[in-house]
């Protein structure tokens, strides 16, 4: 099975990084989360309800929709916060990439740990620009808002192709496909990683892998 990979690129000002990443990551997760599964007898299951909420950005003229789940929002904010910190500490001209990877787990025999097989990877390339005055910042607010709108349309277009999605699992397999640790929604298993590009544009002065959901704990 091939992993489908999508790349989105944005150029933002320093203080817009958080909101731009949140907007795009939440838009993707909105489409890749379902309600909680409740398995009943004989292999049937019912699905809980996913609520949504509008989030206005403070530094960008943009509003995005995310699932109503404080736990999920906290996890994404944490990852984005770490990415932002790494970007500002890099001291280079502020280029980096944050990746949201959806994967399935495949159980292996002991002593081998479970395999993680990605089936969809979204990479968001970020270029941080510095602006000289308030006028430019105001224009940037609007321009980045429009750009994010275009990215949302791109995301939706990819989703609507209805390409490979993992099969709906049985009760015993559900943790290999979905993240069942949240109490109100159930996203597909995902992990967020990031890379900071150094000023030469070569691969990485710092590569740090952060597993936000440590589902590999064995």
């Amino acid at each position: 099975m091939n992993c489908r990979s999508e790349v989105l690129e944005v150029s933002v000002e320093g203080r817009q990084v958080d909101e731009a990443m949140l907007a795009l990551l939440h838009t993707i997760l909105l489409h890749r989360s379902t309600g909680k599964f409740h398995y009943k007898k004989e292999g049937t299951y019912s699905i809980g309800t996913v609520g949504t909420q509008d989030i206005d950005c403070d530094f960008i003229d943009f509003t995005f929709v995310r699932v109503s789940s404080e736990e999920l929002d906290r996890a994404i904010r944490k990852a984005v916060g770490e990415f932002k910190e790494a970007l500002s500490n890099s001291g280079s001209d502020g280029m980096g990439q944050i990746s949201l990877e959806f994967y399935q787990k495949k159980k292996s025999r002991w002593p081998f740990s479970d395999e993680c097989i990605p089936w969809e990877v979204w990479s968001i390339k970020v270029n941080v620009v510095n602006l000289a005055n308030e006028q430019e910042r105001q224009i940037c607010r609007e321009k980045v808002g429009e750009k994010l709108g275009e990215k949302v349309i791109n995301i939706v277009e990819v989703i609507s192709r209805h390409e490979y999605l993992p099969k709906m699992p049985t009760q015993s397999e559900v943790d290999n496909v979905f993240d069942t640790s949240l109490k109100d929604v159930q996203p597909y298993l995902y992990k967020i990683t990031y890379q900071i590009t150094d000023s030469l544009g070569t691969s990485v002065s710092t590569t740090m892998r952060r597993l936000i959901k440590d589902t590999l704990a064995l």
Binding site: G35, G51, S68, G91, I159, D184
Partner: protein, 448 residues
């Protein structure tokens, strides 16, 4: 074409399409109410949330949608459309976008109705939620209120895009294949926001802010082997012929706004009566005297700032030399007589506020009919100022102030270096502090 579909599947599919259409209308209209929408997730299925999404049902909207559908379903050649338009307090209106739920003939025979189609429709609704916040009408609708309101109209049948002006753009929200055809959802939105001052007579007020009641139809959320639960479907079922878009009734004269509608007017049929819990402010515009019919977006009127008792200016120069924001939109002064401060007292200038909206292109809302071909030099001569000891006058100071240099503490390089130096010097500093620890203890004691 339906030969391969079991009767149960056909029934389910029709039910899904019907409720999908109703939910689509709810999402679109709620996204244009001007408020942020919020609904909560629930891990235990209540059996009343279609497509596993918490989308509230505004009763008036459901009523309008069902009335437009008149018992039919969207199908091939029969599209359901939601038209969003803007109406100013002066009665001018403009279509902003049209959302189309259509069906084409491409069938997907092998797809499972009760499972795959249902989940894909759910995904399509999520995409709709995301896209409705992205089209230009969203920002306009968030700012509606005093100067204009956003209205909706639902119709069924052929898609009409002529009202969107030239150069309208289309964005596709998504598509879902079914055994009887492929459902597509798209939005055509206007890009040319130059205002047309066509007065639509007999228009009633559209989207009220009705109280949201949770009156939901029962739906299924069970999957796998068991078929979906049977439903109770109130409302019209079958047998009702397709009716053309209804002419407005002209009976609604709420809040002092009288609407007299000629019976043959096929124009905007707007929403039903708002509920009593409605915000009265939004509808009592008839009582307000509004001189400007333009939306809040950009007010770019420059008037001559001439100090009192200054001689009448005789020349007119362009503003292109100025580095003021949106200087290009300064209107032409009609003639010096009209701008003479002696004859007409100068009005307080309304400068462009860059914080207002993102509609740079939209500024020709101009009931006075001024053209914007020529530009006017706005000479900053603050009242009572004179050339002082300083070579710089207030105007020049103001212009320079617009572009302050970057604060040195904000540049990353400097802070990164000092951070590294700080870190290096830490061990030394710690050693010094440890040596003087007695002094510090004594100091702390004096404080207590």
């Amino acid at each position: 074409m339906d030969n391969d579909l079991s009767p149960q599947d056909k029934k389910d599919l029709d039910k899904f399409i019907k409720f999908f259409a109703l939910k689509t209308v709810q999402v679109i209209v709620q996204a244009r109410l001007g408020e942020k929408i919020c609904s909560s997730s629930s891990s235990s299925p209540t059996g009343s949330d279609w497509f596993n999404l918490a989308i509230k049902d505004i009763p008036e909207v459901t009523h309008e949608a069902k009335k437009a559908l008149a018992g039919q379903l969207p199908g091939i050649g029969r599209s359901m459309c939601v038209e969003i338009s803007l109406k100013t307090s002066e009665g001018d209106s403009m279509e902003l976008e049209t959302w189309c739920l259509e069906m084409n003939e491409k069938c997907d025979k092998d797809i499972k109705v009760s499972y795959t189609v249902y989940n894909r429709l759910s995904l399509l609704l999520k995409s709709l939620l995301a896209i409705t916040r992205v089209t230009p009408a969203y920002k306009l609708s968030r700012k509606q209120g005093h100067d204009y309101v956003i209205l909706y109209r639902i119709y069924f049948g052929e898609v009409q895009l002529a009202g969107l002006g030239e150069g309208f753009q289309t964005v596709r929200v998504g598509l879902v294949g079914t055994p009887t055809g492929t459902i597509t959802l798209s939005c055509a939105y206007r890009t040319n926001l130059a205002f047309m001052s066509t007065r639509a007579t007999g228009e009633e007020d559209g989207v009220g802010y009705p109280g949201v009641e949770d009156s939901q139809e029962v739906c299924t959320t069970s999957f796998s082997t068991s078929p979906p639960t049977q439903m109770v479907l109130p409302g019209k079922e079958g047998g009702v012929p397709l009716m053309p878009p209804q002419p407005c009734h002209g009976t609604q004269a709420e809040h002092g706004r009288v609407s007299s509608c000629p019976p043959a007017d096929p124009g905007h049929h707007l929403s039903g009566s708002p509920s009593t819990g409605e915000d009265a402010e939004t509808l009592s515009r008839s009582g307000e005297a509004k001189t400007a019919c333009r939306p809040e977006a950009l007010e770019t009127t420059f008037t001559r700032k001439v100090g009192a008792f200054v001689n009448k200016p005789s020349t007119q120069v362009t503003t292109t030399g100025l580095d003021l924001p949106f200087a290009a939109f300064a209107p032409r002064a009609l003639n010096s007589e009209e701008n003479d401060p002696m004859v007409h007292p100068p009005e307080s200038p309304t400068t462009a506020s860059p914080l207002h909206g993102s509609l740079h292109s939209q500024d020709s809302v101009d009931s006075a009919g001024q053209t914007q071909d020529d530009f006017v030099m706005v000479d900053f001569k603050p009242a009572f100022s004179k050339d002082d000891l300083l070579p710089m006058d207030l105007g020049t100071f103001y212009r320079e102030f617009q572009n302050p240099p970057q604060l040195s503490s904000l540049s990353i390089d400097v802070s990164a270096q000092s951070m590294a130096e700080d870190l290096d010097s830490l061990p030394e500093k710690l050693a010094i502090y440890e040596k003087n620890i007695d002094e510090f203890d004594a100091f702390v004691d004096t404080l207590q």
